[in-house]
Amino acid sequence: MKVKIESLGVCLPEKAMTTEDLLSCCRRRPRLDLERITGIRERRVAEGKYAVDLAVAAARRALAMSRYRPEELGAIICTSISKHNRPDEFDLEPATAVRIAGAIGASRALAFDVVNACAGMITGIWVLEGLIRAGVVATGMVVSGEHNLPVVWTATREVRHSLDRQLAALTLGDAGAALILDHSEDERVGFHVLDLVTGAKHDHYCTSRPSARGPGGMLLTKARGLQIKGNQHFPAYLKQALDRTGWTLDDVNHLIPHQVSVRAIRKGVQAVEAYLGRELPGIVRCRAERFGNTTSTSHFVVLHELLRTGEAKAGDNLLLVGGASGIVIAHATLTLDDLPERYRAGLDGGR
């Protein structure tokens, strides 16, 4: 039995902030040209909204396009990393999923949080797929709201030089995304392979915790090391995921990598090309220049853009490539049903 994306909802805050604006907010402006290095021109920032608000807005949009009512959802899995649900506070209890379930009226759903850094939503899908296939629930929602702005502000206060480990925090953006999954009647559409692997030996490359220097949370990244280590290992898993699906790269219509930065994606593509010994056709979808790194929601922000602009069509094959601190390498292959048409109709109706 296969599980498919029944509905999608994405919430992008209206306000955009350019990299230049952000750098001018830094107490000590790093000398390097962050925009040139990362390729990130701007990102969305949620002011006056919090992670749970973004998640709830995304969940409502997903429900508006879904054939399910909130009380029919069997599970709500929230995969936010940045649980900044109130000013200067990081929520651990109750699970953010409980707050979302309460807000959207999913009175009968199991509600818990799954946290796996930037691979959170793919992990959430994997968990929900297990629950659906085991018959525990018939349908459910994987939702994430990423309010990274507090971490970005900490970086603007604390970045001291061009090699500062908090520099990567300046690439983050805010977004919310929600997916409703149910079982697929047609065996040809839905998720084919979901592959998740953690190489815990490399757990030191990227950590997020409260700052030791002042108030606020911080994100510390050894960006170069993380990229090198990731690129060393992920192409083999990508190949395995394709093989298990029975696809080659020519069967893939859209390859959506985790949107770390434009340059990181380019390096990743080079790593895959070197491993496979062939050039990648123009299937890599990168929107990092406009939205920055929206952590766990990044794949679905891109999918939203592909659906909105009509680039993704019914029956298209997608390959999601996830990389996260831990180091977690995640791959998902899926075929879309008529979601693109429904999604565009929903968006037009919403307007």
Partner: protein
């Protein structure tokens, strides 16, 4: 459908130590003991779920499960066999939620051996007085049951999301290095009991099991008053409900499995008996599961 059973349990009990143990240390200790008691080797674990809530240095990324996987030496490199690790946060009900998730992954064929670890520790130098949980760890290794009648039966969870504010916990970022803030409000115990009553009724109905067929109830040891009032609320005789609150403090996410470990080790539960597991936590969420030993 493949059934899932607890193959082995390991605990790291709260105790005074010269140097305070953090959450990872407790989880790893419990995990080691669990693996030592198991016939599986660390490399056999395909899924590792950590359900601890309060963690060392209030780290929110990467998943704490990665640190635990690393220290336990479970397929740490990107070669050969693989393990997927992630955190599942559901307050005091976390381990039971994770058991349901693992049981589903096992049933659907996505995995065959999984491990749940949980540990809570407050790493603040001056902890908030509202935080009362002693540091502890618990781990359980779950696999496919060799016999159809042994292992987890059904699960049921009940969430009273309208009363979520009765129990809130988080890290205040207004302080350097963060500070755990835990708030309990009046009416919490009643909410726990109400949620537990619904969850127990739901699981018994779903599994078509009568109360007389359940041999033992193992609840999370939240407080003497909660465990004292539980039998009347869920309509079970008092002697069937395990009460260890005299010797065991409430340890949040590990409480249920510490109690289950004590019950199994003390010979209170023998093979063939049906146990009802009951956990309560923030949400307000209660979970109940039937388990045949």
């Amino acid at each position: 459908m493949r059934r899932c059973r607890i193959e082995s349990l390991g605990v790291s009990l709260p105790r005074r130590r010269l140097r305070r143990w953090g959450s990872v240390r407790h989880a790893v200790e419990a995990g080691r003991r669990c693996l030592a008691a198991s016939h599986y080797r660390p490399g056999d674990v395909e899924v590792l779920v950590n359900t601890g809530v309060y963690r060392d240095r209030h780290t929110c990324e990467p998943a704490m499960a990665c640190y635990i996987q690393h220290r336990l030496g479970i397929n740490v490199e990107f070669q050969g066999r693989r393990t997927a690790s992630f955190d599942l946060l559901d307050g005091g009900v976390g381990m039971l939620s994770a058991a349901q998730v693992l049981a589903a992954l096992v049933a659907s064929g996505a995995a065959s051996v999984g491990m749940i670890v949980a540990s809570d520790a407050n790493s603040d130098r001056q902890p908030d007085p509202g935080y009362t949980y002693p540091a502890s760890g618990a781990a359980a290794l779950l696999d496919i049951s060799p016999r159809a009648d042994v292992g987890f039966g059904g699960f049921a969870f009940e969430t009273l999301s309208d009363r979520a504010d009765l129990y809130t916990g988080g890290v205040s970022l207004a302080h350097r290095r963060g500070r755990v803030m835990l708030r309990r409000r009046a009416g919490l115990e009643e909410a726990f009991l109400e949620a537990a009553t619904s969850a127990v009724a739901a699981v018994l109905e779903r599994e078509r099991t009568l109360r007389k067929d359940v041999d033992f109830v193992v609840p999370a040891q939240i407080s003497p008053s909660f465990v004292g009032r539980l039998p009347a609320a869920i309509s079970f005789p008092r002697h069937k409900v395990l009460d260890l609150t005299e010797t065991m403090a409430d340890t949040l996410s590990t409480s249920l499995f510490l109690a289950l470990h004590q019950a199994l080790r003390g010979g209170l539960v023998e093979p063939g008996k049906v146990v009802l597991l009951v956990a309560c936590g923030s949400g307000i969420t209660a979970g109940a599961a039937l388990y045949r030993v």
